[in-house]
């Protein structure tokens, strides 16, 4: 490898992570601030979701009445559901309950919201965990691969394919994969119908959903890793490690990759948002009774307590994962004042 330091590196000897003018953060106060922000985010999410759900036309009673909107019956349902009380009172009650760990009960069925969440959590968790478990090596692997061959065929191939797949919405990809892999070739089961929560018992049924969930995050992640790796591999410190006889693989993975990691890890946390969107589509497409299904049903039924409970779960999840990602990113780029 012939690379003199007068290449791209030297002009930019301030590495990208040094750019912010925030002071390098002090550990604890950073975490505290992040947690505070996280709490505020969660509260804001819940309020926003509550307000929006309340603003939706119709309420649980109307939704339940469906195409039989007998006004007397709607009024009776409304009364039975306590919906005749003002919205803020219901919110206050619910919030008070929440402080005691009580998520309230569903309007539609009277069952505790926690049961809804518990029931839906398993399948979604399996999907998300599997997706993440594959996403990380796959995203990083492809990114590193493309970066190693920057500008060459492999790179072009990886870059074009990831770009193309990135542009395809989940539902379209899902339909395509099911048609080809499950229906035409019959290699995999087309849905997870009837497997209920026991998804792990039927690994074949998980292949397609996970594939669809993976598609877009893998693309964005690998593109990000590629960009980071291209920079890192061209950096003076990578050249230096190389110069001193550190083997190529070790330079790539032990020295260059950590630098490409920070933005990627934060992207990974953002992926949660995508996963959620994707999960909704994928659960519907493959009949997996997870949180996404619960959420959409609850919205349709105007089952406000369930929607709020889920908003809390999603909010907390998003906040915790982002916090984790920021901490990891900070660990990787100690100098970058990660904006709290």
């Amino acid at each position: 490898m012939k690379r003199a330091p007068k290449g791209r590196g030297e002009l930019r000897d301030l590495p990208p992570w040094r750019r912010t003018r925030q002071p390098a953060f002090r550990g604890t106060s950073f975490v505290a601030r992040r947690l505070l922000l996280g709490a505020a985010q969660t509260v804001a999410v819940v309020l926003l979701v509550f307000a929006l759900t309340e603003a939706l036309p119709g309420d649980a009673a109307v939704a339940l009445a469906g195409d039989q909107p007998d006004p007397a019956r709607i009024a009776a349902i409304r009364e039975a559901m306590d919906l005749d009380r003002p919205a803020y009172e219901r919110l206050a009650d619910w919030a008070t309950g929440l402080l005691h760990g009580d998520f309230g009960t569903s309007l539609a069925s009277g069952r505790p919201v926690t049961q809804y969440i518990a029931d839906g959590f398993g399948p979604t968790l399996v999907l998300a965990a599997l997706t993440l478990a594959l996403l990380v090596p796959l995203g990083f692997g492809l990114g590193v691969l493309a970066a190693r061959h920057e500008g060459r065929l492999v790179d072009r191939l990886v870059s074009s394919v990831t770009l193309a797949v990135y542009a395809v919405p989940e539902f379209a990809l899902g339909v395509l994969l099911v048609t080809v892999l499950a229906l035409k070739l019959a290699w995999l089961p087309p849905t997870a119908v009837g497997y209920g929560t026991d998804l792990l018992g039927h690994p074949a049924a998980l292949v397609l959903p996970v594939l669809v969930l993976l598609s877009r995050p893998v693309c964005s992640l690998s593109r990000l890793v590629r960009a980071g790796m291209v920079d890192a591999l061209a950096s003076p410190y990578a050249a230096h490690a190389h110069r001193y006889g550190v083997p190529g693989a070790r330079v790539r993975y032990a020295h260059a990759l950590p630098n490409a990691l920070a933005p990627a890890v934060q992207q990974l946390a953002r992926t949660v948002d995508w996963l959620l969107c994707g999960v909704i589509v994928v659960e519907a497409l493959f009949v997996i009774p997870g949180l996404g299904t619960v959420l959409l049903n609850a919205v349709a039924e105007r089952d406000v307590p369930v929607v709020q409970g889920l908003a809390v779960v999603f909010g907390v999840l998003t906040v915790v994962l982002n916090l984790g990602a920021d901490l990891v990113a900070h660990k990787l780029t100690p100098r970058a004042g990660v904006v709290a």
Binding site: Y237, A239, H240, G245, A254, P258, L261, P334
Partner: protein, 513 residues
């Protein structure tokens, strides 16, 4: 000691896009000797030095040969050691990777400990005796000197027979410089060949055994350092070595009346309330040139920034012609903004890379003096010309100008404000000797010009400070001494000033032998 070279370059020619950046260079690197490559920036020093490592710029066509006879690999200490230290990894990471092959013959269980010992040993050799805690730190947690020593330790750990040191002393104050010189001496004393790439003649003279003077990719002269210094043969060498310094100013144009700028009880803090500077009293008279001297981190830049209104967090008063200046330049009106101008250390970073230099220079007159666009451009051209920058260069973008040229443009930009006070923050550091002298000459000519322009030179370099009428010395945020330049330079009183003076002298006279 053997006189066989450990590495040799013969008739090296490196071409990029058909243009030779190094041509016909011969170089013999002897063990235990310091070979210096001297020349202005762009003379091909770094390319030659890296050729020893077998590295060339991308897209280069190389002819000629490099022969390494010695067993060991070649080490490299770049100008900015931070650039080769991985920001995301602890200092120990690369060191351990370097040590690993050397312990491979040991049983697995012993490898880790053996590697650790090797690393610590190398750190100790690089004058980092207490290496253990250092290994767990990230590069940014080290001082510049520590970073440099860590990089040196990497080379020593590698068992390098040759170490190429690229501009190791650039931008350093005298005390640091002398420590680096000492360090490289020790390296050479271990029988390692040192190739020093530098434009710092004091250091070269103090350190080198053999000197090659380069210009435009060619070696114009080479020989033992004593011979070269006493009897330079080539015209360029003579120019390079020209010892003539800007003579201390006679102070003729200094107006002893009311100070144009006065600092009273200045205390500057940084974001978390740490006091970084205390300056009880400091004055600047009309037409006077004041040098503020100190090591890096001594608070001299903060002082300059306070004066310029770029650092708001300070108490105390700064008076311009007896009236207090607003702390932030945001609150300074046009005339007061124009009155105190500031020239940045890094000229390249201080220009907008997207617009032609001329335009940026002319804007000062437009914005601060309300001059018309045309006149401003004319004036800018004239000023640039006066400072030695040709019109065709002025029309280019900053990326196409050299550091020295940009620094001239930066001076012109400030001068177009017709300032009363011009603050120059380390404007010559990072420039090679010839360029630096050019800038210093310009500065010397500036003081007292127009309506009695006063200069504040922020510098770590006593050579530059010699230009001044008065010198103020800062150490660790305290103003420790101030007085006429002559007195400070000849009879320093504060112990810190004394040590600064001594070290500088020692370097200049080359007391190594």
């Amino acid at each position: 000691m053997s006189r066989d070279p450990v590495a040799e370059i013969r008739d090296l020619r490196v071409e990029i896009d058909g243009r030779a950046i190094v041509d016909g260079v011969d170089l013999r690197v002897l063990p235990g000797k310091v070979t210096a490559l001297v020349g202005a920036s762009g003379s091909g020093k770094t390319t030659t030095g890296l050729a020893l490592l077998g590295e060339y710029p991308p897209g280069a066509r190389v002819t000629g040969g490099i022969r390494r006879t010695g067993e060991g690999p070649v080490g490299y200490v770049p100008q900015h050691p931070a650039a080769v230290l991985n920001p995301a990894r602890r200092v120990g990471a690369l060191l351990h990777d370097i040590a690993r092959p050397q312990v491979r013959h040991l049983p697995r269980a012993e490898r880790r400990e053996a590697a650790r010992q090797l690393v610590l040993h190398a750190l100790a050799d690089a004058q980092l005796p207490d290496g253990e805690p250092l290994l767990r730190r990230h590069p940014h947690q080290l001082s510049g000197g520590q970073q440099q020593r860590v990089v040196l330790a990497q080379a020593l750990l590698l068992g390098a027979r040759v170490i190429v040191a690229d501009e190791p002393t650039t931008g350093q104050d005298a005390l640091t410089k002398s420590r680096i010189v000492e360090q490289l001496e020790q390296v050479a004393a271990r029988g390692i060949a040192v190739v020093l790439l530098s434009h710092d003649l004091d250091v070269v003279r103090a350190l080198a055994d053999e000197v090659l003077v380069m210009r435009a990719g060619r070696v114009v002269e080479s020989g033992p350092v004593e011979r070269l210094w006493t009897a330079p043969r080539h015209e360029w060498t003579r120019r390079l070595l020209d010892e003539q310094r800007a003579a201390p100013r006679d102070g003729a144009s200094v107006d002893a009346g009311q100070p144009v700028l006065e600092v009273r009880d200045l205390t500057a803090v940084h974001d978390r309330g740490t006091v970084v500077l205390r300056a009880p009293h400091l004055t600047l008279h009309r037409g006077e040139c004041l040098a503020v001297v100190g090591r890096s981190g001594s608070g001299k830049t903060t002082l300059a920034r306070c004066l310029a209104g770029l650092h708001r967090d300070h108490d105390g008063e700064i008076l311009l012609d007896g009236t207090p200046l607003p702390r932030s330049l945001r609150h300074r009106d046009r005339s007061r903004l124009a009155a105190v101008q500031y020239v940045f250390q890094d000229a390249r970073a201080a220009f907008d890379e997207h617009r032609p230099v001329l335009h940026q220079v002319a804007r000062t007159a437009v914005r601060l003096r309300g001059t018309g666009e045309r006149e401003a451009t004319d004036e800018a051209l004239a000023t640039l010309h006066r400072l030695g920058l040709a019109a065709d260069l002025a029309h280019r973008r900053p990326g196409e100008l050299s550091g020295g040229e940009l620094q001239r443009a930066a001076l012109a930009r400030a001068l177009l404000a017709r300032p009363r006070v011009l603050i120059c923050d380390e404007v010559t550091s990072g420039l090679d000797t010839v360029t630096r002298r050019g800038i210093l000459d310009v500065l010397a000519g500036l003081a007292g010009e127009g309506d009695g322009l006063s200069l504040v030179l922020i510098t770590h370099d006593l050579d530059t400070a010699r230009l001044a009428d008065r010198i103020a010395v800062l150490d660790a945020g305290e103003l420790v001494e101030q007085g006429p330049a002559q007195r400070i330079l000849t009879e320093p009183q504060h112990p810190f000033t004394v040590s600064l003076m001594r070290t500088t002298e020692r370097l200049e006279t080359g007391t190594r032998r």
